[in-house]
């Protein structure tokens, strides 16, 4: 009898289908939430709505074409994806990339990192319910995009890096443009900072939400700013340096608690560090050719296999390339940073509210193009 009386007050959980057409699932991602009131009891992520079979496609395409496919993986940071693939091919072929090309690549990648983090800032602000951060961040991002347009001819899908270098040297007015852009970006980032960072409501929404310990994060294969927010100092630009990163001086910001707030702060700081890198790279950039002379238009790669990883804005982006000779790869396996970061979602969303759900997802900064590949 007593049991029955108690049972009568028990509430029933509700299943809430969030996505794939939800405004804040960052693309076509779907979560099936089981909620008790506003509290999340269980979450079941469903991916695959943007699956385009990139890995399989790569097996049938020439090396030349694959670069354009890699643009479309993590479409917010195309340059970084391209870099991973071209480095992989270069390693297999044993090509020495001209110094100038390396610097151009680093500048582009770091600008891309800023653009990507601005995109994160924009979406994160919107997830937390503020509308202006989106426009502020896009204003800054727009300037970077127009630099990209001037350099590569495209605002998003650049197809600019080539095996052995880059397709074309920087435009002649690049230096002037950057001299104007960098102070503007600094000011813009500061403005973004002023708008949101100190805001008590924002802090209340982000701090202590979706925390993960360093050990758990490593177990899940988390990487990039998300991992550094837990206090782990893992940055491939430092731990396995590639390109000209060893010659550049920059800090690796890290958080402590691994919550949304730390993830946000790490990215805000990374933007500033990236600007430092860009400044140095522009100053130190030598003259010279931008593509290795021995590279022909149609790349033929010797037999072998290689694994290359680079530090994407989203984390550890790896390419495992097997070649059996010829002009097409045998297998290309992509390790997407977003994919691994996203897999922590179940852990992060424990004991969260529905409102936290979008904030946590936003703080992971996933790009579905890379998750589903």
């Amino acid at each position: 009898m007593k049991m029955e009386a108690e049972k009568r007050f028990d509430t029933v959980d509700m299943m809430l289908n969030m996505g794939p057409q939800h405004p804040s699932t960052h693309g076509v991602f779907r979560m099936v939430l089981t909620i008790d009131g506003e509290k999340i009891v269980a979450v079941e992520p469903h991916i695959g709505y943007l699956h385009r079979g990139t890995e399989k496609l790569c097996e049938g395409e020439y090396y030349l074409q694959i670069v354009s496919l890699f643009d479309r993986l993590d479409y917010i940071s195309s340059f970084n994806n391209e870099l991973a693939f071209v480095i992989a091919v270069e390693k297999l072929m044993g090509i020495q990339v001209p110094e100038r090309a390396e610097y151009i690549r680093v500048i582009m990648c770091e600008l891309n990192r800023i653009a990507s983090h601005l995109m994160f800032y924009a979406a994160f602000g919107a997830d937390a319910g503020a509308i202006t951060p989106f426009l502020y961040a896009f204003r800054e991002r727009e300037q970077i995009q127009s630099v990209f347009e001037a350099v590569s001819g495209a605002r998003m899908m650049h197809n600019y890096f080539r095996v052995g270098g880059v397709i074309e040297d920087l435009p002649p007015d690049f230096g002037d443009r950057m001299n104007k852009l960098i102070p503007k970006l600094k000011q813009g980032i500061q403005e973004c900072d002023d708008l949101l960072t100190g805001n008590e409501i924002f802090i209340a929404r982000a701090k202590g939400v979706g925390a993960i310990s360093a050990a758990d994060a490593i177990d899940f294969g988390m990487s990039g700013p998300n991992l550094r927010a837990c206090g782990v100092l893992e940055d491939i630009r430092r731990s396995e340096p590639y390109s000209v990163y060893p010659t550049l001086d920059f800090d690796i910001p890290a958080g402590q608690n691994g919550d949304c707030w730390d993830r946000y702060m790490v990215r805000m700081e990374e933007m500033r560090q990236s600007l430092r890198i860009v400044e140095q790279a522009i100053a130190e950039m030598p003259q010279g050719p931008v593509i290795a002379p021995q590279v022909r238009k149609i790349v033929k790669v010797p037999k072998g296999e290689v694994y290359v990883r680079v530090e994407n804005p989203r984390g550890d982006f790896g390419v495992y390339l097997i070649s059996q000779g010829g002009d097409k790869p045998y297998r290309v396996k992509i390790r997407g940073a977003s994919f691994c970061n996203l897999m922590t979602l179940k852990k992060l969303l424990q004991q969260c509210y529905v409102a936290d759900c979008v904030v946590v997802l936003g703080s992971l900064d996933i790009v579905l193009g890379e998750v589903d590949r």
């Binding site: 030349l64 354009s68 643009d71 590569s152 001819g153 495209a154 197809n159 074309e168 403005e191 008590e200």
Partner: protein
């Protein structure tokens, strides 16, 4: 409380700043010289024929296979007016498939194809997105004028 006020101050400051947007259909932002629009074919004014010989290398290297090309014997070669033995017969690009990657431009051995400025190409039916030889050459002529100007 300070953070809230700081945020309010920031938004107040930007309220009186000049808008950064452009009223799009009325005004256009300048395109970068390297801007990659849809591909177009160039016209050889010396012999009054396209540069393209229809060798199909672009079609082969196009990631989305949006290009269809065939070649034919060049009648002007027999007259001796042209150095091209073969000439393009049929050239078609499905703009709906094209991903403007510029690989066709990169692999072309005759510098016959360029990336034009064309980007506002919305049409009412899917069929209109398929550009044939004449349209591509026309797009290319516009591009040539721009190249000559700069």
């Amino acid at each position: 409380m300070i953070g809230l006020l700081k945020g309010l101050n920031t938004t107040l400051k930007t309220l009186f700043r000049r808008p950064v947007t452009v009223q799009y259909p009325d005004e256009h932002l300048p395109l970068a010289p390297r801007y990659k629009g849809f591909p177009a074919l160039l016209w050889d004014d010396n012999v009054q024929e396209p540069y393209c010989v229809g060798c199909q290398v672009c079609a082969r290297y196009c990631p989305t296979e949006c290009i269809t090309v065939t070649m034919k014997d060049n009648t002007k070669f027999k007259d001796g007016t042209s150095t091209r033995k073969k000439i393009v017969d049929f050239f078609q690009i499905d703009m709906a498939k094209c991903i403007v990657c510029a690989i066709c431009v990169e692999v072309c051995n005759f510098d016959a194809i360029v990336m034009s400025d064309a980007h506002e190409e919305s049409v009412f039916s899917r069929g209109e997105m398929v550009a044939d030889l004449n349209r591509l050459l026309e797009m290319g002529r516009g591009q040539e004028k721009k190249l000559r100007k700069s």
